[in-house]
C-alpha cells in the first residue's frame, strides 16, 4: 500500500479508483442515505408519532440510534455556527464583550434540562402539528448542553492570538474577514475540537433525557434510544435496556472512529507549537481518505470553496480607529449610552421576573427551594469527595504505569462519554429490591457518569508527572503519606481540579434526572432541588421551574466562584509543573 503511495502515478492512472475508493464511497453513500431518511422523518405530522409508537423490538434499535445520532450531529453543527458568531462578536467588540461574556458564564451553569420545559412549548407552538417542532426542541436542548464551553474556548483563543501573527496579518493587509479565517479560526481549532468532543460526550446524556419528555399535559416521544429506554422502564423490561446500552456503545465507538479521530488527526497541524511533537495522533479513517485518489478529488471543490470564501474581500467598518481626539469623547458617550441601555434592560427584566414569580409564589417558597438547593449541594459535595477518595489513588496508580495507563485512559474517556442515565434503571431495580432509602441511594446516580472525568484527568496528571521528581523522591526515601502529600498530590493537583470542576458541573445537571427515578409504576424520589425542578416540569408549573433553575444557577455559580476558581488559580500558579 505504501509503495503504491510513494510511486508517482503515471498519467491517466490518477483517477483510476483503488480499493480504498470503494470502501470510502460506500461510507459516503451510507451517510447520504441516512441524512435523507432522517430529513424525511422530521417533516411528517406529529400524529405519526402516535401511529407508529416506539416499540421495544431490538430490530428497530439501529434506526432509533441513527435518529438519536442525527439529532446530536445537527446540534453540534448549530453549536459550531453559534460559537463562530458569538465568540467573534465577543472577542472583536469591547461593548458586546461586556454583556456576552458574563452571560455565557451564567449560561454555562444553568441546568440544561430545565430549559426543556420552555423550549418544548415554544417549538411545538412554532410548528404546530409537525414532528419538526418536537425535533427542534430536542435538538435545542442538546445544543444548550454543548454550545457554551465551545464558545468560551473559541473566545479565549481569539483573545490570545499571538501578537506577532496579528501584526503579520495586519502588515500584509489581510482584511478582517480573511484574518478571521486565516488566523483566528485555525488558532482556535485545537481547543475548539477538544471542547466539541467534550460537548459531544455530554450531549448523549441530554439527548437520552430529552427524547421522551412530559411538560404539563404535553407528552412528546421522539423515536430514539432515549425514548426506547423510557419505554423499557415503563414496561420493566431489563433485557431491552441491555440492548439499548449495547446499541449506545456501538454508536459511541462508531462516531469516535469515523468522526472524531479523523478530525483530531487532521487538526494536529493547527496546534500552535514551533517544534514537531513526538507522537502525532493518527486515524485509519483519515488515512483512508488520504489514500483514496478519487475521493480526495471529491474534496477539491470544498478546498476551493473554502479558499474562495476565506479570501473574499469583506472589510469590516473600522469603528473610531481612524482619528483621535474628538472621536475619543464620542466613543465615551456611546459607552455611557450602551451601559445605560444594559442597566435599563436588566432592571426591566428583574422587575418582570419579580412580577411573574410573585404572582404565584411567596417568600416561603423561596426559602424552601433554597433549602432543597442546600440538600443537593450537600449531595454533590459528598459525592465529589467520595469519588476523589476512590479515584485519585487508583488514577495515580494507573498513571504511574505508562503501559497500563495507555490501555485504561481511552476506557475512562469512553465511560465519561457514555450516557449514564441508560444505566439508571439497573440501580432503581436494586433499590426497590432491597428497600433502600432513595434519599441516600439515588444520590450515586448523580455522579455515575461524571466521576470518570476525575479518573481520566488524574491519570493524565500522573502520566505527566516528571520522572526526575519521582526519582528524587525515591532517592530521598520519601514514602507513605509523605510521598502522597509532598510529591504526588501537588503534582497532579491542577489536573485533578480540571476533572473535579467538570464532574461537579455535570453532577448538578444530572441531579434533575437522578433525584427522580422510576421503574414501571414504582417512582422513587429523593428530596432535593433536582427533584423539585423535575416535578415542577412534569406538572407544567412554570413559576416553580423558573425559581428552581434560578436557585440552582446561583448555587452553581457561587460554588464555582468561591471554591473551584480559587483552587484552579492556585493550582495553575503554584503547582503547574513545567
Amino acid at each position: 500500500m505504501n509503495l503504491q503511495d510513494i510511486r508517482t502515478p503515471a498519467l491517466g492512472q490518477v483517477l483510476r479508483p483503488n480499493v480504498w475508493d470503494v470502501v470510502a464511497l460506500v461510507l459516503i453513500i451510507g451517510t447520504m442515505v441516512a441524512l435523507v431518511y432522517g430529513g424525511e422523518q422530521t417533516t411528517l405530522p406529529l400524529s405519526t408519532l402516535d401511529v407508529n409508537p416506539v416499540s421495544l423490538d431490538p430490530a428497530n434499535l439501529p434506526l432509533y440510534a441513527l435518529r438519536t445520532t442525527m439529532r446530536m450531529l445537527l446540534a453540534i453543527a448549530c453549536s459550531i455556527v453559534f460559537t463562530f458568531i458569538y465568540a467573534a462578536l465577543a472577542a472583536k467588540s469591547r461593548r458586546a464583550e461586556i454583556v456576552l461574556i458574563p452571560l455565557l458564564d451564567i449560561l454555562q451553569s444553568v441546568p440544561i434540562l430545565g430549559f426543556l420545559t420552555f423550549t418544548v412549548v415554544f417549538f411545538l407552538n412554532l410548528f404546530p402539528g409537525k414532528v419538526l417542532g418536537a425535533e427542534l426542541a430536542c435538538v435545542f436542548a442538546i445544543f444548550t448542553s454543548q454550545a457554551w464551553n465551545m464558545t468560551f474556548s473559541m473566545y479565549q483563543s481569539m483573545r490570545n492570538v499571538p501578537k506577532d501573527l496579528e501584526e503579520a496579518s495586519q502588515s500584509f493587509h489581510l482584511t478582517g474577514w480573511q484574518r478571521f479565517w486565516r488566523l483566528d479560526v485555525p488558532f482556535a481549532m485545537p481547543g475548539l475540537i477538544w471542547n466539541t468532543m467534550m460537548s459531544m460526550s455530554g450531549g448523549w446524556f441530554f439527548v437520552v433525557a430529552s427524547e421522551a419528555i412530559t411538560v404539563g399535559n404535553t407528552t412528546v416521544t421522539l423515536p430514539g434510544i432515549g425514548s426506547y429506554v423510557a419505554l423499557a422502564i415503563q414496561e420493566k423490561n431489563l433485557t431491552a435496556i441491555g440492548y439499548a446500552i449495547l446499541a449506545m456503545l456501538l454508536v459511541i465507538i462508531a462516531y469516535d472512529q469515523l468522526l472524531f479521530r479523523p478530525v483530531v488527526a487532521w487538526a494536529d497541524k493547527f496546534r500552535f507549537e514551533q517544534t514537531a511533537s513526538a507522537s502525532a495522533p493518527t486515524s485509519w479513517m483519515l488515512d483512508l481518505f488520504r489514500r483514496t485518489r478519487a475521493l480526495r478529488a471529491l474534496t477539491y471543490p470544498f478546498t476551493a470553496l473554502n479558499r474562495a470564501v476565506s479570501n473574499l474581500h469583506i472589510g469590516f467598518p473600522r469603528l473610531a480607529a481612524a482619528s483621535k481626539g474628538g472621536s475619543e469623547r464620542q466613543s465615551r458617550v456611546i459607552d455611557a449610552v450602551w451601559l445605560a441601555t444594559i442597566l435599563a434592560g436588566t432592571g426591566y427584566a428583574a422587575w418582570k421576573s419579580y412580577q411573574y414569580l410573585s404572582a404565584t409564589l411567596d417568600l416561603s417558597d423561596v426559602v424552601t427551594t433554597i433549602g432543597y438547593g442546600f440538600i443537593t449541594l450537600a449531595r454533590v459535595a459528598v459525592l465529589i469527595a467520595l469519588a476523589t477518595l476512590i479515584w485519585v489513588p487508583i488514577g495515580v496508580w494507573i498513571g504511574l504505569r505508562p503501559k497500563l495507563a495507555e490501555r485504561i485512559q481511552p476506557l475512562a474517556q469512553f465511560l465519561a462519554a457514555f450516557p449514564a442515565n441508560l444505566a439508571f434503571p439497573v440501580f432503581v431495580v436494586i433499590i426497590v429490591r432491597f428497600g433502600l432509602s432513595p434519599n441516600i441511594w439515588l444520590s450515586p446516580l448523580m455522579i455515575l457518569g461524571t466521576q470518570w472525568y476525575i479518573l481520566f484527568n488524574v491519570i493524565a496528571g500522573a502520566s505527566a508527572f516528571p520522572t526526575d521528581l519521582r526519582e528524587a523522591a525515591g532517592s530521598f526515601h520519601l514514602k507513605g503519606w509523605r510521598w502522597w502529600v509532598k510529591v504526588v498530590l501537588p503534582g497532579i493537583f491542577p489536573y485533578y481540579i480540571t476533572g473535579a470542576i467538570t464532574a461537579s458541573g455535570g453532577s448538578w445537571n444530572a441531579s434533575i434526572v437522578a433525584e427522580v427515578a422510576s421503574w414501571g409504576d414504582t417512582h422513587l424520589t429523593a428530596t432535593g432541588l433536582g427533584a423539585y425542578i423535575a416535578k415542577a416540569t412534569e406538572a407544567g408549573d412554570f413559576p416553580r421551574v423558573v425559581l428552581g433553575i434560578a436557585i440552582m444557577c446561583v448555587l452553581v455559580t457561587l460554588f464555582n466562584r468561591l471554591l473551584w476558581r480559587p483552587l484552579y488559580a492556585f493550582g495553575e500558579r503554584r503547582l503547574r509543573l513545567g
Partner: protein, 452 residues
C-alpha cells in the same frame, strides 16, 4: 529560477529609474513622538521628536538598547502603531494603517504554523487579490531566490530556525515592497545561522536581485549593524531619541576583522556607554534617580560571577566591553545591563566602552558568601533609593510588613506597568539575596521576618 531573476530584475530596474536626485524620499519621519499610558494613568514618553528620512538604495539600521523605542518607531512606520504627534509619511502619503509597498520581517518569524511554506509565502499576495496562477509563479520565484527550494510543502515546525526566517524573508519579498522593514530578524537565531543568513541577504542586495528599494532594520547587535548598514541611527533610552547618525562607508563584503570595522564597532560601544546630557540631575551618570529608577532584573549570581571575572586575569579590574562581550558570548544589550547594574551599585564604573571595577568591587571579589551579602546589602540601601525606602517603611511599621502594592503604586508614578513589574522583581531578588527583607509571593507582602 530564470523566471525569478526576470521578475525581480524588472522590479529593480524600475527602482533604479525612479532613483533620481530630486525624487520624494521613500520615508519621511518628522518630529514623531509616541507615549504609552503609565501604570498610574499618566503618559510615558518612549519616543521623542524623531526625524528620519530614507532614500532608495540604502540599508539603514536603528541601533539601541531595549526600551529605546526603536521597535516602536519601526511599528509606526509599519502602520501598526499610530504616532502620538508628528508626521510620518511613506512615499509621500501620511501613514494610516499598514502602508502599501512596505513589508515586514519579524524577530519571532511570525509564520502561520498551519500553513505550508508555500502557503505562508502566498499569504501576502492573496490579501492583495492577485490571481492564483500569478501568485504561484511569484511565490515560487521568491522561494527560489531565498534558497528554500524543495521546502515548499513543509510546515514551519518541520524547519530549523534559520529556514523559518528564510520563509519570513520570502513572504516579505514576494509582495515586491519598496521598503523592507526588519525587526531584529537575526536575534532569535544561533550565531552561525544568523551569519549565513546575513551574508546571503547582503549578497543578494549587492547583486541587485532583491525586489526592494530600501531596507530599514532594527537591531541591538552593534556588529550586525556595522556589517550590514549604510547608515546607523543610534538611539538613546528614556525617552528614545536619535543620539547619533553614523555613516558606514566600508565596501561590501565587510570583514569583521578589518581594523576599520573594529574601530567603528569600538566607537559605537563608546558612544552607547556615554551618558546623554542629564535632563534631571542624575547622580554620577546613573539613569533616572530616586525611587523612580528602572531596575533591570539581573541575577545576583550573574553579578557576582561578572565581578569575579573582571577581578581575575586577563582583565585585572579593567575590561574593554566588546572584548568582554565576545568572551562571555553576550549581546551588547546584555553586557550593558550587567555593566549598568554594577555601576548602579558602585561596584564598577562604565565609560567610553570600558568597564572598570571600583574598590568596593575588588573587595567584593575576595569576600566570603556572608560578607558579600553584607556588602551587597550596604550598597543596596545606600545607592538604590527604592531599597532604602522599603527598608525604612518596614522598620517604621509596627507590623514590620508592607504590601507590594504600596511600592508598586509609587513605581507606577514614574514608569509603565511592565517596567514596574520588572523593577519589583529585581527588588525582590536582590533584597532576598542581601537578606534585607523577606517577600511572600502569595500574599505579595514584604516583611522583616526571616524563616529562621
Amino acid at each position: 529560477m530564470p523566471l525569478a531573476s526576470a521578475a525581480f530584475a524588472l522590479a529593480n530596474q524600475e527602482g533604479c529609474m525612479l532613483d533620481q536626485p530630486n525624487q520624494p524620499s521613500l520615508l519621511d519621519i518628522r518630529g514623531v513622538c509616541r507615549s504609552f499610558p503609565k501604570g498610574s494613568g499618566e503618559e510615558l514618553l518612549v519616543l521623542e521628536k524623531v526625524d528620519l528620512t530614507l532614500r532608495s538604495g540604502e540599508i539603514v539600521g536603528l541601533l539601541g538598547r531595549s526600551g529605546s523605542g526603536k521597535s516602536t518607531l519601526l511599528r509606526i512606520i509599519a502602520g501598526l502603531v499610530a504616532p502620538s504627534s508628528g508626521d510620518a509619511k511613506c512615499r509621500g502619503e501620511a501613514i494610516k494603517g499598514p502602508p502599501n509597498g512596505v513589508a515586514m520581517v519579524f524577530q519571532s518569524f511570525a509564520l502561520f504554523p498551519w500553513l505550508t511554506v508555500l502557503q505562508n509565502v502566498e499569504l501576502g499576495l492573496e490579501a492583495l487579490g492577485i490571481d492564483s496562477a500569478e501568485r504561484r509563479k511569484r511565490a515560487l520565484a521568491a522561494i527560489d531566490l531565498i534558497g528554500l527550494d524543495g521546502f515548499e510543502s513543509a510546515y514551519p515546525k518541520e524547519l530549523s530556525g534559520g529556514m523559518r526566517q528564510r520563509v519570513g524573508f520570502a513572504r516579505a519579498l514576494v509582495v515586491h515592497p519598496d521598503l523592507l522593514l526588519m525587526d531584529e530578524p537575526f536575534s532569535a537565531l544561533d550565531v552561525l545561522t544568523a551569519e549565513t543568513l546575513r551574508t546571503d541577504l547582503i549578497d543578494l542586495w549587492i547583486e541587485g536581485r532583491l525586489p526592494i528599494k530600501s531596507v530599514l532594520m532594527v537591531t541591538h547587535n552593534i556588529e550586525e549593524a556595522v556589517l550590514m548598514c549604510d547608515r546607523i541611527l543610534v538611539f538613546s533610552s528614556n525617552p528614545g531619541r536619535v543620539a547619533a547618525e553614523i555613516k558606514v562607508d566600508l565596501p561590501h563584503p565587510r570583514n569583521r576583522l578589518d581594523p576599520m570595522f573594529r574601530q567603528l564597532v569600538d566607537s559605537i560601544y563608546a558612544r552607547m556607554t556615554q551618558r546623554p546630557e542629564p535632563k534631571t540631575p542624575a547622580l554620577e551618570g546613573i539613569p533616572g534617580s530616586g525611587v523612580g529608577m528602572i531596575l533591570n532584573h539581573v541575577s545576583s549570581n550573574v553579578l557576582s560571577g561578572l565581578i569575579e571575572t573582571l577581578a581575575g586575569p586577563p582583565y585585572n579590574g579593567h575590561a574593554d566591553l566588546p572584548v568582554l562581550a565576545g568572551h562571555l558570548q553576550l549581546e551588547a544589550d546584555e553586557i550593558f545591563h550587567l555593566g549598568e547594574a554594577l555601576q548602579l551599585l558602585r561596584f564598577a564604573q562604565l565609560s567610553e566602552g570600558d568597564l572598570m571595577l571600583s574598590d568596593a568591587g575588588k573587595r567584593f571579589a575576595h569576600l566570603e558568601t556572608d560578607a558579600r551579602k553584607r556588602l551587597f546589602a550596604e550598597h543596596l540601601v545606600n545607592y538604590v533609593p527604592v531599597m532604602g525606602l522599603i527598608r525604612r517603611v518596614l522598620d517604621e511599621r509596627p507590623s514590620h510588613s508592607a504590601p507590594a502594592a504600596r511600592f508598586r503604586n509609587e513605581l507606577e508614578d514614574y514608569m509603565s506597568e511592565d517596567y514596574a513589574d520588572e523593577t519589583l522583581k529585581t527588588i525582590v531578588s536582590w533584597g532576598r539575596y542581601a537578606e534585607l527583607f523577606a517577600y511572600d509571593e502569595q500574599s505579595e507582602l514584604f516583611s522583616l521576618e526571616n524563616p529562621h
